[in-house]
Structure formats: C-alpha cells, structure tokens
Amino acid sequence: MSDFVDILLTAGFWAATIRIVSPLIFGTLGELICERAGVLNLGIEGIMTVGAMSGWMWVYQGGDLWTGVLFAACMGAVFGLLHAVFTVHLCLSQHVTGIGITLFASSLSYFVYRMLLPDATTPPKIVPFQPIAVPWLSDLPIIGEALFTQSALTYLALLVVPMVWYVLFRTPVGLAVRMSGENPVAVEAQGINVLAVRTGAVMVGSAFMAVGGAFITMSWFDAFYFGMVNGRGWICVALVIFASWRPGRALLGALLFAGLEAIQVRAQQSAGAFIPYQFFLMLPYVMSILAMIVMARKTKYPQALLVPFRRGERV
C-alpha cells in the first residue's frame, strides 16, 4: 500500500499522467462534440490513427510541427465528413459506419505509411514537440514538473477544454449543436439546417480526434508504430458517457483514467514477480468499467443521439 502512496508523491507520476491524458482529452472532446450533435462517431479509433500517421508523416517529409498538427486535423475532418455523409445525409447505422470508418482509416494509414516508407526496418524518427518550462511556475515542487514542464500540445489540450465548454454552452452555434442532439425537429423549425450543423460538428469533432492521435507520434513519442493508438479511441467513447457529455467532467474522467494508467506502469515495476504484469495492464480498464457503472446510471443521454433526421418526412 505504501508503494502506491510513494508513487502518488513522485513528480514523475504526475508528469506521466498529464502526458497520457493529452490525447485522451482531444479524443474525448472530439467524440463529445459529435455526440452532442446527435452522432455517435465510432470512427474515432481509426481517425486517431490517421492523425498519428499523417501529422508524423508531414513532419518526416520536411514540414514543421504546427503545420503537421494542422494537417492531421484536416485529415481527421475529411474522415469526419465521410462519416457524416453516411450517417447524417444517408441516415445509415452510426454503429456500423463508425466501425467501418475505423477499419478503413487505420488500414489506410498503415498502407500509406508502408507505401511512402517501403524500406524502413526500424521506424524512422522525427524531432517531436519539446517540453517548455514555464518560468517561475515550473520551479514549484511536484506541480512544477507535472504541469508546467510539458509540451505545447499538452498546454493546448488543457486550454481546449474551457474553449469547447464556452462554445457549446455560451454561443449560438453551440446551442444549435446541442439542440441538434436533443431534438433536430426543433432546430429545423427554427430555420436552421440540421444536416449542416451535424456535418460541421462531426467534422470538427473528428479534427480534434486526429490531433489527439497526432499528439502520440509528435509529442509523446517520435515515431509511428502499427497499433499505436491501442484502444485509446474506445476509451474516449466511454469517457464521454462517464462525463455525461460535459467537457469539464470529460477532463476529470480523462485524468482519472490517465492516473490509473500511470500507476499501472509504476506498479508493474514495483510489484515485481508477485503479480503478473497483465493484471496491472488490465487495471485501468476494470476501473473505468466500474466508474462507468456508477456514473452512467444517472446520465442524461442527448435524446436524439443515434436518431437520424430526415427532412420533410412525416413525423
């Protein structure tokens, strides 16, 4: 038990938590935006892979880091558009389309990677985002290293949370997005194009997901591996429910999961031979299932989530 307390007191643990949480924040917010508009986006796992590959590839081919992030976001938006065409405009099953997008997007990413780098045996590397120490604040004990010695993309992730909250809850366009997820007929009756709002939300949300993927290859690591996203997209889908579709709670949930993940890595090292390491690998997922059971019972789903809207159809 004291091992765990020791872990919690190290700056390294908190720094790792903040690093692990960054892609989850982008992914969760992206999924949250889609679902607030009434569209479940299970393409997230694939779209994060696309972001991870395309951002990294951009930099590897000579682009700079920030345009790489932008490129990844654009690629995410393109796959978001694909998802929206099928689910919003053609009213196909959001589950099936989402899984299809994930399979297609991941495979395409690996294919493009192999096409462009056919001879690479060991994965080539780029120079990723470097940690920026915020003057003064980074000298604080524990918090300094954990919060204020991170890469620019991490700062961006933390900044994006209040921004998404503000747009969703304080601007007219945010109201239109939320209303589209609650009652699209009401949106239509007020003269706003539901299909456009939903398409836009899915594209923006998917761009967020892709940036989350790009974080993994451009800030956390410096190379692109197969299977790199490793289920983080699915965790984001669960986190959105855990968060009751609220950005602030999404940050909280993501931190909780990231913390568990960071503990897991350290517990593996300290527990040694007594407990097989697979047990620790499993921990964050078990904990998130338990948290979901507690939280999800009380949540209010967006009422029009998964419900396609067909204009002019008899109600």
């Binding site: 007219p172 109201l175 939320r178 209303m179 949106v187 239509e188 009756a189 007020q190 009422q303």
Partner: protein
Amino acid sequence: MSKPPVLEFRGVTKRFGTLTANDNVSLTLQQGEVLALLGENGAGKTTLMNILFGHYQADEGDILVDGDVLASGSTQAAINAGIGMVHQHFTLADNLTVLENITLGTESLWSWRQDQAGSRRKLAAMISDYGLVVDPDAMVSDLSVGERQRVEILKALYRDARILILDEPTAVLTPQESERLFATLQSITAKGLAIIFISHKLHEILAVSNRIAVLRRGAIVGTLETASSKREQLAQLMVGRTVTRPKLSAIEPGELVLDISNVSTAGTGATELKAIDLTLHQHEIVGIAGVAGNGQGTLADILSGLRKDFSGNVQLNGQMLDAGNPRAIVASGVGRIPEDRHARGVVAAMDIWENLISEDIRSDEICSAGFIISGSRARARAEKQIEEFDVRCKGPDAETKLLSGGNMQKLILARALSNTPSFILANQPVRGLDEGAIAYVQEQLLEARKRGAAILLISEDLDELMTLTDRIAVMSHGMLSSALPTGERSIGEIGLMMAGHADQGHGDQGHANMGSPANGH
C-alpha cells in the same frame, strides 16, 4: 374596400405518390382574424401548413405573404416572412431551458456570445404582454403540457411572427387549459396578428374563430363566417355525409368481471399508479378520462400483461390475473386494443394473416402438434375475419403497413374480438381515425357490451366518454377517482379533476378524494 390579405394560398396542390394531400387549395387570411381550418384526420390540414412553413414543397400553386410570393420549401423564408408555427407535436428540446429553446436561431450562428440579458428582457416583456406565464430558466422537461405550449407560442412571437399557426393546439390540454389558450389567442389578435387555428373539434372552432374553412380530402369544400354557421352544417361539410355516432342503450350490468383493488406501482412519478380501485361488470363500459401521461398507460400495461411489478390485486372473473404473462391473459378472455396501433398493435412489416393469428398461434384451429402452423388454415380464418370486420385490403397476404389507420384498427378489432373476450381493454381506440371508422369501432364496442363483455375505455376525448360509457373515472397523477355514472359529473368538473383537483360535491363514501392512498385498504 377591405384591406389586402396578410396571407393568401393560390391553387396549392401537393401529392404524395398517388395520394393528393392538397388539391388546388385557395384561402385568404386577414389581419387580426382567427381563421379556423376544419377537417377530419387525413383531410390535409397539417400538410397544407407544412407547405406554408417550408417543411414540404407544393407541387403547384403559390403562397403570398403581404402580396409577395413566399419562397417554397424554406423554413427560414417562412420565419423571415413573419410566420410562426406551433406544431401538434411540440418541437422543444427537453434537456434545455425555456430561454435556450426560444432563442435558438434568433442570433447569428457565428457571433461569439449570446446576448442573454437582451433576450431575457425581450422575453419578459412578451410574457407580461400576452399573459403567457412561464419561467425562462426552467428545463422544458419539468414543464406541464400547457406550459410547453406557451413556450411554443412564445417561440413564434419572439421571432416577431405576424401570422401564427396552431396545429391541433387543444389535443393535449384539459378543458380549462384550452379556455386559457383561447383567451391568449384573443389578446394576440387584438395586437393585430392573424391566426390559423387547426382542429377537428367543432365546439372549439365555433368558440374561437372568426371564419371557418372546411377541408375534405385535401380540397376546400366551404368557407363560412363563424357567426352564421351551425354545428350540424359544419359536421356535414367536414365528413361529406351524415354520420351518426352510435349511442348507448340501457342494459342492466351483470356479474363482476374485473376487480382492481389497491393497485400501486413503485415510484412517485405522474405515470406511477397510487392505490387504484376499479370494478367492471358485464354489459358495462367504464371510461377513464385524463390527460395523457397520468398513469393510464401503466394501468393498460398491467391489464395487458406487459407489466408485473405492481402491488395490489387484479382479479378477472374471480381468478387472479396472471400478471406479466400476455399469452395467459389473452387466453383467459382479455381482448386488447393498444394505444399505439403502429408500435404495439401490429407488426407493420408482416402480412395481415400473420398479424391476425399473432395472439393465438397455438390454437388448435391453426396449429398442429403444438408448433406447426398451417398456413392454409390460418389464411382461411383470416379471410373470414377480414370479411366479418370489413378490413379493406387485397387479401390475407397483403402487407399490414399498407393499411390505412382505420383498416389497421379494424384488423386489431378482428383479432381482439374474434374469440369473444369477457373483458376488453380499449386504449384510445378511435384516435386518429376518420368519422366513418370511429362510428364502426364504437359500434363494435357496443356490440361486445350487448353480448356481455366488460369494457374499459381509456380516452382523452371527453365527448367520446360522455356518449359511450356507463360510468367514468378520472385519472390524474397516477390516482384514479371513483367511477360515477356518466352524467353525474359535468365536463367542467371532469376537466378540473384531470388537472389534479380533488373530486368535490359527490359523496361516494371513502372515495370522495382522488383515490388518495389514505383511503386505501
């Protein structure tokens, strides 16, 4: 010379496939008047208004607002032209506040902040101007139906509507709420707005309108001044022929059939039952009045075997009801006419004969060895039922979804009544049907009553209950009043009880209050 009309329809025609929903409709609306649009269900009233509001595009004809042609198929254009619509099914988002529902779409989508203070001020002024009291910060899910309707009206007025369309606005209101709505409409027209009031209820239309346009099968069959029109004349115009609804004849009630005593379901919500008592006898139709969502559905679910988590006793012909077992319940002599034909009454994608046998697939008549259904025998029986109940269709192999509402209901009647049930649960059996079909369904129920069945009729239409029942009980917030002989309570009294006021003035010992738990057993 009279002023030019604020709104004019010129030869509007709309077709859905082979069905002509609106046939060359021409109409005018003057400033400050209430024009009633009268017609049966399916006459094309809502379609016409959906064309006006840009939900549908007309195939022919134009709509003019203040003399200018309105762009067709654009809701935005309709709103900009000053048209506001209160839909029959409210278009509100439950999980958002009143203010959010009202201000959606009124500000530029790309502005960086909402002018909450400004919209609050404007809304407050309108609330006091028109007497449409509602809390701007309340969640829509917490509002009563009457309040939701006020939000809908405010939504239209907030966008500076000059023409207000109300589609069947009283369908969900108690009589008192309707009165209040009519008063609001007066204050709205006094400010120079024009209103189109859609309904198929004659007494309302006569009470609220200045002029009446009657729509039948998509075409205008008459436009009359309200002051000089008679109820009978309007009914004749609307239906196209004289249809008389059947009347109750006096029959002495027989033995006890259904005995519901002290039935409650867990929870405190409006739909949860609170210590309900009710008895039904042979040759008796007992009506349950109430606004939708006050527990009628829960009671219906229990009696049809869809729920078993309740306390208390339900006895049918002296036997305990086999709760939660629909097949046993049907076998013990219950005929069920569910509230929602499409969702629960039939499987629309299956054939007519399949739907007709769905409640007794194991009867020896159609089933061999307990599990082999004989298609030929089932079809033969279906053909007999189709003929007996006058289901208009191509035959037993036709798809059920192709049936009109009235014929679908006849199919359900055929299934429910064929094995002469001793108890019939009729939940809103005539909702959405045209006059001819209504008369038919009611005749069938009366026929069953004469034969000796006990019938529980759940309805939101007080006129129907007044003419068709022996006794009426009122349901509100999951509580059921005593069932008094029809006529002992006036429509006004029933209306008050529907709104949750205690039953007063009728000393039926032990049940004087709305079945309050304190009177339990």
